[in-house]
């Protein structure tokens, strides 16, 4: 009994969704196909088998991220192509998103010289929201940032940006002083405050930035999976007790509410990531703490 895409454990009981977060290669090698076949018995040499670099790097999730980048680039090229005073529908939608980030995020948080950060923030917002919406799109069905590596990549980008901005404006020592010594703290207390501020600004900031994006989408996708996969299993479970099947139907119906929640989370997380990037840049650029 083979269940494609599901891992078989404990004899013939399919563990639905166990491998749902694993990346699958787009062009699997012969060894991958043999060792990841959905059968209980694989050849012995699979114990020492190593995946090839195409199995590791050219996967569906990396493809999703690249596709997201292409969609974002194409969207903004289409929006800014042939701009008119009376906007077309696409131009109107693009301007709406652009204005939201420009006025609501960049101008409010960064202050007077916000112009040079707007392209980065808009690109980051659109990239994150596209990748989050992949979690609700029926062909991909997986938010890219539910793999933690992608979230670390974006957090690293923000980390480099705000540190570079701060060092460029204040110099290395001035920037370190700005980030670790709050204004108005006297000598003995500073020994206690400075390490804490350093820890908070340089270590927990990037970690929580990446982890927040990852954890929300991971938990959201897990929730969707529990209701959909578990509901499917309960509906098809053959037992003398029909309560299982009724529970399954309720679970499947409730999964629509979870999907609606995920749409909200997809937008909210993209917005929060952008707004935190802007506020970190603003803190690095500020004249005093």
């Amino acid at each position: 009994m083979a269940y494609p895409g599901f891992t078989l454990l404990e004899g013939d009981v399919p563990q639905f969704g166990v491998s749902a977060f694993d990346s699958r290669p787009l062009f699997p090698s012969q060894g991958w196909q043999t060792c990841h076949a959905a059968t209980a018995d694989v050849p012995d040499w699979c114990a020492t088998w190593q995946p090839t670099w195409t199995d590791i790097w050219i996967t569906n999730h990396i493809f999703q991220a690249v596709l997201g980048a292409i969609i974002v680039i194409a969207f903004w090229l289409i929006v800014t192509n042939k701009m008119r005073v009376v906007p077309s529908k696409v131009q109107w939608a693009g301007e709406y998103v652009y204005n939201m980030i420009r006025n609501g995020v960049a101008r409010d948080l960064i202050g007077p010289n916000y112009h040079k950060y707007v392209p980065f923030l808009v690109a980051m917002f659109s990239f994150i929201i596209i990748n989050n919406l992949f979690g609700e799109f029926f062909l991909t069905m997986f938010p890219t940032f539910a793999k933690v590596g992608f979230a670390w990549g974006l957090a690293l980008l923000t980390y480099i940006l705000y540190n570079a901005v701060g060092i460029k404006k204040h110099g290395l020592l001035g920037y370190l002083k700005l980030m670790t010594v709050p204004a108005g703290v006297k000598f003995p207390i500073i020994l206690l405050i400075a390490p804490l501020e350093f820890f908070s600004n340089f270590i927990t900031r990037p970690i929580t930035l990446g982890l927040r994006l990852f954890a929300n989408l991971f938990a959201g996708h897990l929730l969707v999976m529990i209701f959909v996969v578990g509901g499917t299993w309960l509906v098809t479970y053959t037992n003398n007790n029909p309560l299982y099947n009724v529970t399954g139907v309720v679970s499947l119906l409730f999964s629509f509410a979870i999907f609606a929640l995920e749409l909200l989370v997809a937008y909210l997380l993209a917005y929060v990531f952008t707004i935190l990037t802007a506020s970190y840049v603003a803190a690095a650029e500020a004249d005093s703490h």
């Binding site: 409010d108 929580t208 982890l211 954890a215 299982y244 603003a282």
Partner: protein, 72 residues
Amino acid sequence: MTPLDVAASLKVVGYGLGAIGPGIGVGLIFSSVIQGTARQPESRGMLMGTAWIGFAVVEALALFGLALAFIF
């Protein structure tokens, strides 16, 4: 094995307990923002800026809990 068996784990319960504090904290932050905005609607932008930073700091604790629940 019946489908309704639940293999419980104490670390997940620990995460649930750990999420109580940040939950209250996030609620307090945004309730204050709502009140401040209601009293002085034009200060919304400034309030939200501070609120997001506070939200980030508070929510970090819940995120650490989630990460630790998976790691250990």
